[in-house]
Amino acid sequence: MAKLWLVAKHEYFKRVQKRSFLLATFGLPLLITLSMAIAGLAIGSSLHKSIGYVDQAGIMAGMLGQSGGDNDFLAYPDEVSARAALEEGTIQAYYILPADYLHSRNLELYYWDEQPGRHVMEDFDQLLRTQLSDDLPESVRHRIMEGWYLKIIAADGSRSFDERTGFVSIMMPFIASMLFFFAVMAASGYLLQAVTDEKENRTVEILATSLTPGQLMSGKAIGLLAVALTQIAAWAISIAVALVIAAQIFEPLQGFQVPWGYFGIILLFFVPSYALAAGIMISIGSIVTDMQQGQQMASVVNMLFLAPMFVSTLMLSNPDSPILVAMTLFPTTALLTISLRWSMAVVPFWQLSLSWLLLVAASAVAIWASGRLFRMGMLRYGQRLNLRNILAAIRQSTTGFDVHEMKGQPDA
């Protein structure tokens, strides 16, 4: 087996057998499932609590004793009796429909300890609308109650947005982009550790006489990419299973279609983004003397990749703003920005292609420079490279594990 693949295999199994990896890979989906279950239970516990109302406007006459949605709505003749029921704990809250409701549209809601959730309010709204449209023909009434289904289509036909599945369509790229982002950062973080590991445990000299720096670094990068993909696969399978189960309960999910175009684009950006992060992390690992220093520098770099998250409100309000276009083109922010913009707007083809070219160029430069820094930094036990060393390493043109033009002496 080629030495490159031996290194890749070694790195892969070394990481996936670690407890921290198993926890991150399977713990996260488990945590999400648990929190969803807890949220579901919390919602469930607030259901079926009675809500009172006092109809001073006289529009709910036919609704006494009826329930709306999952909730029971109890009529009270006046506010005093409703308040007494609230204080006794018979009801969770009560509405007051004032006498001028039809003109003013004003409603009042009183609660004691726990404010009713959105679900309860929507049910009461439905109940009110049903009552108000009671005299209309069934078809008209149904249309008013259901509202519209809006489908937004890009003029060039490249993208469409169906509001029936809109929420899921927005959330899906958002979740997926977070997963891809974490996978990139986790894999490059592992790489930082892998580079500093061999400096710290002093195996680097043995490796230097066994294989080339290119074989060593490429092997590590491939092995750790495989680790990241394993993580993504585990998460993706968990999400797919969760979606299939959730679709049985949650109606909007039934119309959900997998955004293959989105996944294709993200995959196209994922590989060079990983290469860019890997190049930066190898460089950091080569410059520093131990993992702690490396992590400090890496946390600053992570911010460069994470920047689009800080402008996520802008994504919603103005997805084509110049700032977001700039972040689309900037190599470290491209993956996350495109991923987040995808659900909000049509990202023009010129932006996608230019961004991809810039990203590929930046990742090539990062990998090239990291190879040089690695050669220089590998034998500098306990010595951090300064800026002059770094520039000298990048300028030098020798091959092998040479540190020919290095300023300052390595350990003799």
């Binding site: 445990n201 490796l207 230097a208 294989l211 020798t398 092998g400 594990f401 540190v403 003799a412």
Partner: protein, 304 residues
Amino acid sequence: MHTVEVTNIRKSFGPNLAVAEVSFAVEKGEIFGMLGPNGAGKTTSIRIMLDIFKPDRGHISVFGGDLNEQKKNNIGYLPEERGLYKDIKLEQVLIYLATLKGLDETTARRRLDKWLDRFDLTAHRRKKVQELSKGMQQKAQIIATLLHDPDLIVMDEPFAGLDPVNARLVKDILEDLRRAGKSIIMSTHRMYQVEALCNRIVLINEGHSVLYGQVDEIKHNFAGNAVVLEGKGDFSQLPGVIDDRRQNGEVHLTLAPGADPQAIFHTLAQRENTSIDRFQIAEPSFEDIFIAVVQEGKEEPSYG
């Protein structure tokens, strides 16, 4: 054909000259000693020889030509700065490093059984490296150097961290390897090991090879440069003596090159309160030679 031939190599790191001019050759089936004080340039010379560093000038030939990836698989290297992957099982680490040297996994496993047995590490093979004692880790490093059965073995301080029993074991192994025709380069400060093991040596001081040749021949050339005496009185600060030390009731004097033992005897005889029971011109130990050459650092290179 020499296994290794190093000719006039020079290497500087910025303003620091690490190796000024070093030359030596290593033959098949010999143990070759690289000696020198700390910072003399031994490790840098080894790293240049193994293509970790490129020399500023000079030439290296390994197995009859430039070092390439194929030839690297035939070299076993125990570096001065050593270590293994701490959080991996011993067996797994050693097999990984052997496969990186081109050995297939099945052969590596088969050979590993024998080496673990010889170094008494079989019971620890499934332990993580970090769970092993320092001495065990040192033995594991030696296995990593030898598992792929290289023809050229380079060991920087192979006896460091070993107790006398294990040091004896390593010495026996090195002798076995020499008999099997392997070329062994050993960098060490332990002069008695040099005398006991090495066929030839190079002594590097301040980046120059200052002494080079057969061990017996060098000792013969330095005969007369050591005196052993017994007696009473003050034997320090004698002209022409660069080192004096007491050992087992005897006084060992290391003489500067060219110093006359008769003149020293004459000086002692004239000292008051000094009596001499025995005065013997001795064959110098390698330690005496090392001290004499290093302290007389300005001496011209001597090739035996």
